[in-house]
């Protein structure tokens, strides 16, 4: 598949999932963004993006249910049986982060 086709598919997918204006802006920005982000962009297919339904975007993500375990390897190469939470990925816009002291 040519890069052009991939780009068109991505754009259509993004429009389908996120709606017109924001997705256009995102696609435009990503094409002018950094190389690392662009290379990853190709790996995110429209169908995958579609799977993050609107419900997921609305709900809070932290559930701390420790539903599954994933194996990860840290920088030193040590295997780490880290506990993964039943997390949900939210789609968010660029908005201010709120500071609040927890320590």
């Amino acid at each position: 598949m040519t890069n052009l086709k991939k780009a068109i598919l991505l754009l259509i997918g993004a429009l389908f999932v996120f709606g017109g204006k924001d997705a256009m802006a995102q696609a435009n920005k990503s094409n002018t963004g950094n190389a690392g982000d662009q290379s990853k962009q190709e790996k995110t297919t429209p169908s995958k993006a579609k799977a993050k339904d609107k419900k997921a975007a609305e709900k809070t993500t932290a559930t701390n249910s420790k539903a599954k375990s994933t194996k990860t390897v840290d920088k030193a190469g040590n295997k780490n049986n880290s506990q993964a939470w039943a997390t949900k990925t939210k789609i968010e816009k660029d908005k201010p982060e709120k500071a609040s002291s927890t320590k």
């Binding site: 996120f18 204006k21 924001d22 997705a23 802006a25 995102q26 920005k29 990503s30 002018t32 963004g33 950094n34 190389a35 690392g36 982000d37 290379s39 990853k40 962009q41 790996k43 995110t44 995958k48 993006a49 993050k52 809070t60 993500t61 932290a62 701390n64 994933t70 990860t72 840290d74 920088k75 780490n80 880290s82 506990q83 993964a84 939470w85 997390t87 949900k88 990925t89 939210k90 789609i91 968010e92 816009k93 660029d94 908005k95 201010p96 982060e97 709120k98 500071a99 609040s100 002291s101 927890t102 320590k103």
Partner: protein, 309 residues
């Protein structure tokens, strides 16, 4: 003004806080597992509350040297240097005072006597931590608490991994008290909203950060109320009493430095804060503000240039 860029965000519970990672939407979400794994590793190895961590071992074997790793030794030395720069107003051996005031797993909520405070203070002194290569020892009656810095240390490790991976547009929000902005040319800044801790509806200011961190210390969420008076959990290692300030915010180049400075400076009055910030701004490229118990604020020399509203 916020842009129309889209991001993926995940929030997980670590270090007794909600840790949120938010990055460009076109990254595959599997990257979150790798990023959070770094934080979990920090939690396991360097959190004093994690059984078997290097810091826990140092505490358990107080009085003897413990074999740690290079990271532990470097980290503790760096914290000691920051304590020097704060003239001892920050001290990671403050745990006896934390216990005395009832902020750790007890319900001994009472005002300690002067004698009790004097005794606890005699156990608090970061200069008595011995570091020889990767071997570390504290004195028998000492105890290190990592609560004031370990989360920020984890944030720095995640930020490093993000940059190494090629993630150049992201923000890490660790419980609101440690926020790290990662920016590229397409998204040159992130905004951070700072509110009055005693009146959440009162927005103090909106900050604009570019590849910088924001750390805050306050008694907003952790305090004891004894006989109608509120006592915060940030206790001066010099006086043994909780600071009465309302809030400190620090903009820094890395999360650890910001977190440590905000904690130490929380114990200062306005005049001392301004004096210390002159030196600290020069040395660490940091800016900040302090709000005292009356709601009066002072800003370091260049803090206001980050305020956009």
């Amino acid at each position: 003004m916020a842009s129309s860029l889209l991001y993926k965000a995940q929030t997980r519970w670590l270090f007794h806080a909600h840790i949120k990672l938010k990055l460009s939407a076109f990254w595959d979400e599997s990257v979150f597992d790798e990023l959070f794994a770094v934080m979990e590793t920090v939690n396991e190895r360097y959190n004093s509350y994690s059984e078997g961590s290097f810091i826990d071992q140092i505490n358990q074997q107080a009085g003897s040297f413990v074999n740690t790793d290079a990271t532990t030794a470097t980290l503790l030395q760096r914290l000691n240097d920051l304590s020097d720069d704060l003239a001892g107003e920050y001290d990671i051996t403050v745990m006896p005072l934390i216990r005395l005031w009832g902020f750790y797993k007890t319900s001994a909520w009472r005002i300690p006597s002067d004698d009790e405070i004097r005794t606890a203070l005699s156990q608090v002194d970061y200069r008595r931590i011995q570091i020889e290569d990767t071997k570390v020892a504290i004195e028998k009656d000492q105890e290190i608490i990592t609560g004031s810095f370990v989360k920020a240390f984890a944030v720095d490790q995640v930020a490093k991994l993000m940059r190494a991976t090629g993630i150049t547009d992201a923000i890490i929000n660790a419980g609101g008290s440690s926020i790290c902005a990662i920016n590229n040319d397409s998204h040159p800044y992130w905004q951070v909203e700072v509110n009055d801790t005693e009146d959440e509806d009162n927005a103090l200011f909106l900050l604009q950060l570019t590849n910088q961190c924001y750390s805050t210390s306050s008694n907003e969420n952790t305090f004891l109320e004894i006989e109608g008076k509120r006592y915060g959990h940030i206790i001066s290692p010099k006086t043994g009493y909780p600071s009465e300030n309302r809030q400190v915010g620090i903009i820094s180049q890395d999360a650890l430095t910001g977190d440590v400075l905000s904690t130490g400076l929380f114990n200062c009055n306005k005049e001392t804060f301004l004096r210390r910030m002159e030196f600290l701004s020069e040395k660490y490229d940091v800016e900040g503000f302090l709000m005292d118990k009356n709601g009066d604020m002072v800003f370091s020399r260049n803090f206001e240039k980050y305020i956009i509203r």
